[in-house]
Point group: C2
Chain length 592, copies 2
């Protein structure tokens, strides 16, 4: 592939050449609004990740440009987000001391690994892997992470140092330090939290009643954190609260990020790989769902595999420009969309806005109290907590509830990574458990027809010597033994039976375990003096069976129709009276 | 439950009260033959597990009695087996030094844990969990274990000390000790292996040609190891080969096992728990498949959950009588069955036989060379190696081949436990991957009927404004996004479409993720100006949907039949001409 072809393959090639002035105006307006929202978020989420504030800003510059070139969503706003920051803190603090240069380096490694993984998944078209994260698990994870993040940020609101990555550890740590709480910090933090909650819950309806357009209401509400930052910074600087123990952001180095290289240590990369995989999955799921929701509003599409490439590029960019793992943010993307962003160039303009911030504004952050940043995080993540979802899911399905509850409990009690894995494990196990017992019915003939129906539901004629069984599921390793035992048990309890016919019309696939199970059933039935027959086997299944010696060992036959089987095996109970079914057959790819 | 009720609930209550003299005679004959076979096996498998020879004998006494009371198979012969001995050696040597008292104690813990797990699984009716071990994984596991066991026993045939629990380690260890090989041991070992192979492959047809009854041929062949043991023991004792470096079993304490208590150390129990889980699963799968095969030959049944109780009781008995983990052995059970065993009392008689052996025969084992025991193991396990299965599975299914090959490679390269887990993981992942892309078809109406068929297979009439889609699978977390994208993509590329009707006749279940996905699809379609309808929803699915607010948000309607939907949404393309289908409907539990 030449460079020209490569460039043309970029998603940006679809919109960049025809870029118009009216699009530019719309993108610019959206970028200004997103920038205002992103500045305090960048600083706060970097703090949540245990990183210096400038790392959050750096993660909001080049990654946005990379995503604009490679991503397939027109309006996704990429950058640091709460959940990924928490995952970063958990993973990196296992391998390095917070505040050390190694800690920053490990965050770079995490971004590089996560970027490489996302990019590889996109190139190999493995986007479907994200489907393993079932909705109850994601929903439970976000709720529990919200609680955990809020708990972890309490330290900044109270002016103490909490340790731990789960609720028992954080609360235990809190209980031991109650006497170290700094009153000035608490006042500032509580005031900021109260103000932000007020903006969210009261100011919005108030503004709406003034007749302002809904979008303006949205922008003013989203600017709440900026107001909190400005006011509390001025308060600290004016009253010298930092001398009274209020912790401040302090000196933030100005200037653009320089090229960074993630430290090369195979042991470190290996150690961080599992965490990078979880970060990639969670980040991708969060990102792609908001991207698809927004794309639908303009009847556009988002290709999950291209999205992986875009997020991969963004994270690699983060790794080489002093950032940390990023993904598409939910509220930020919605604001970008509502503000009228038309193309990913809005993201580039946002990146320029953040770049200007690092060049010009960093001195202004010196007296910014950490309590304010913690307040913005707490208010943001508590809005993600959705305890009601537990009740809704419980009402809908006990299995899904179990997956969700497991995720929440394990995230809170042990930690985020274990929680996600436990949730995935439980949802897969419950799915296997459900499909392990397929619906199986003993059949009888509907009088006067060639149709066979469940004896428990219909008035049908059964044969004393031929047992007719239908299974409503493809056969695979987890359910074959159930079918084997079901049929064998019915034969053992019905001494007159000499033949079993398995109606295979609903079987789309038989895996090697199921084939082995059918062979075992055939042997067991044969040892008990009973023949096994199949009927209405679909073409592809028959093709597969013919590649084995199963049919050679089969004691019975394979019949085209179930009626034919009964007519041959028990002609007295099955007179040739009924007319054939006039409906066209829809066995996809059926040969017989 | 009173003691009387408890006794009556035992499987033994079904056969013990009516026990007849002719049954006793048959059981006794079978017991004598199995005992002869079991003596060298007990000594050999204990050696394979890294345990003193008497532990193998102890594991063949009380566990057999416990199984006779609790097990549901009439003819399963329980005791030490090769694969479980290898798993025991792997697990126990991680926590204790071979040859130490701690090592023997850890083996007791493993038996106790494994017994408790099996018993709990039986009581909770969790026998289906064993289905997670797909056939390719079990088959690959047994082949690879056979190779690994044979490699690990080479040390006894060569008279050296090999270290390691995987092939690279064993071979590396061998390469470093080539100069330490003991020629006398090699001569003895190779002669024993050659003799045992000759018995298996040549003696059998030779005896068959003499006109001996097949059962007698079988018994003589199975006595091969006993002959090898007797001859080589006499050779060592007579020629003083033990002074020439041939390692012998040495002093075996005589007398019955005393009551033992597995050491109580929570840390040790916790450390051995995962290994106990794997041993339980593997042992159960091996045992239940042979039990079911044999039961079928007499039209009897084996209840997997009762089997779990029986094996659980056997292992708990092993833990309290100085044994180690046991399970049902394949060839031993077949011999027991063929020798005419009628009831589990054959197992009790076998136990008495082994008990007499420990009382009277142990001095005779003093000069028994370890090389002979290793030879019996090597010949036994190499018969389990089935490389041809790889080719057969490859021909049948690439996915199943991948699971099998993964299991074999990981068992050989890393170890037995990791290998089993990797195999289970791969087979579950491949199953999810296969069901993650269900068969979806765009439908059109068969002219002159009310039937709708795949547009790619049939000559059908389609509507320009209504898209008809059918999905042939229940909807769940791993496949909902595929359906969502499939439908949405078709709508985006067909600008005239205003309505989508999803034919739900094949959907048996919609989990919470799929519900969420349908809601998201409904929103996305709505944002794109398209309504979503459902048709032919099964009763239980409808019940579940009605417990949510999905139907309130649905932009379209739920139609009883797909034809009705089309007749209403696009009446011009769907004239009311066709006659209704006369076939009775078989929506199980359908309300509509």
């Amino acid at each position: 592939m030449s460079f020209k072809q490569l460039v043309r393959a970029l998603p940006a090639a679809a919109w960049l050449p025809g870029y118009r002035r009216d699009q530019a105006a719309a993108d610019l307006v959206a970028a200004v609004i997103v920038t205002i929202m992103l500045i305090p978020q960048s600083l706060a989420y970097a703090m949540l990740a245990g990183l210096p504030p400038e790392v959050g800003l750096y993660a909001s510059i080049l990654p946005l440009v990379a995503y604009a070139l490679f991503g397939s969503s027109r309006t996704l706003a990429v950058g640091p987000v709460a959940v990924v920051s928490l995952l970063t803190a958990t993973a990196v603090s296992r391998v390095a001391e917070p505040g050390s240069a190694e800690y920053i380096g490990a965050a770079l490694v995490l971004a590089a690994l996560s970027g490489a993984l996302l990019f590889a998944m996109g190139a190999l078209r493995l986007g479907w892997i994200a489907n393993l994260l079932s909705h109850p698990v994601v929903s439970g994870f976000i709720t529990a992470s919200g609680i955990l993040i809020a708990a972890s940020q309490l330290k900044h609101v109270l002016g103490i140092d909490l340790q731990g990555h789960n609720l028992p550890a954080l609360l235990g740590s809190l209980a031991r330090q109650l006497d170290a709480i700094n009153p000035e910090t608490v006042m500032l933090g509580v005031a900021a939290i109260a103000f932000l909650f007020w903006v969210r819950s009261r100011l919005r309806p108030l503004l709406a009643r003034t007749g302002l357009p809904p979008f303006a209401v949205e922008v003013i509400t989203k600017a709440g954190p900026v107001v909190a930052v400005v006011v509390t910074t001025l308060a600290v600087a004016g009253f010298g609260l930092n001398d009274a123990g209020v912790r401040i952001v302090g000196a933030v180095p100005g200037g653009l990020p320089t090229v960074s290289l993630p430290p090369f240590s195979p042991a470190l990369w290996l150690e961080l790989a599992p965490a990078a995989a979880i970060i990639s999955l969670i980040g991708f799921v969060e990102s792609v769902s908001v991207a698809q929701t927004l794309a639908a509003k303009r009847r556009q599409r988002v290709d999950p595999n291209k999205e992986l490439l875009g997020l991969g590029a963004a994270n690699i960019a983060a790794a080489f420009s002093g950032g940390y793992p990023v993904t598409g943010g939910f509220s930020r993307s919605v604001v970008n969309f509502d503000a009228g962003a038309r193309t990913p160039l809005a993201g580039v303009f946002t990146a320029i806005g953040i770049a200007l911030t690092t060049l010009l504004l960093t001195p202004a952050f010196h007296y910014l109290p950490k309590a304010t940043l913690a307040a913005t995080i707490i208010v943001a993540v508590l809005s993600l907590v959705d305890i009601g979802a537990l009740r809704r899911v419980w009402r809908y399905s006990r299995c899904d509830f179990a997956a969700m509850a497991t995720t929440i409990v394990v995230v809170l009690a042990i930690g985020v990574e274990t929680g996600v894995l436990a949730g995935i494990g439980v949802s897969i196990a419950l799915f296997l458990w459900r499909t392990a017992r397929p619906h199986v019915a003993v059949l009888g003939r509907v009088p006067g027809t060639e149709h066979f129906r469940n004896v428990e539901r219909h008035e049908v004629i059964t044969s004393a010597s031929v047992l007719s069984v239908r299974v409503d599921e493809s056969l695979y390793f987890a359910n074959i033994r159930f079918l084997e035992d079901y049929i064998y048990d019915r034969v053992v309890t019905a001494p007159g039976v000499t033949d079993v016919v398995l109606l295979c019309s609903a079987i789309n696939q038989i895996d090697a375990s199921a084939l082995e199970g059918l062979e075992a059933l055939n042997r067991r039935l044969s040892d008990a003096g009973v023949r096994l027959h199949l009927s209405e086997v679909k073409g592809p299944v028959m093709d597969a069976l013919e590649r084995t010696d199963f049919l050679a060992h089969l004691t019975g036959e394979v019949f085209l129709t179930h009626f034919e089987a009964l007519a041959r095996l028990d002609p007295e109970a099955t007179p040739q009276t009924a007319a054939p079914n006039p409906v066209p057959i829809d066995n996809e790819r059926a040969r017989r």
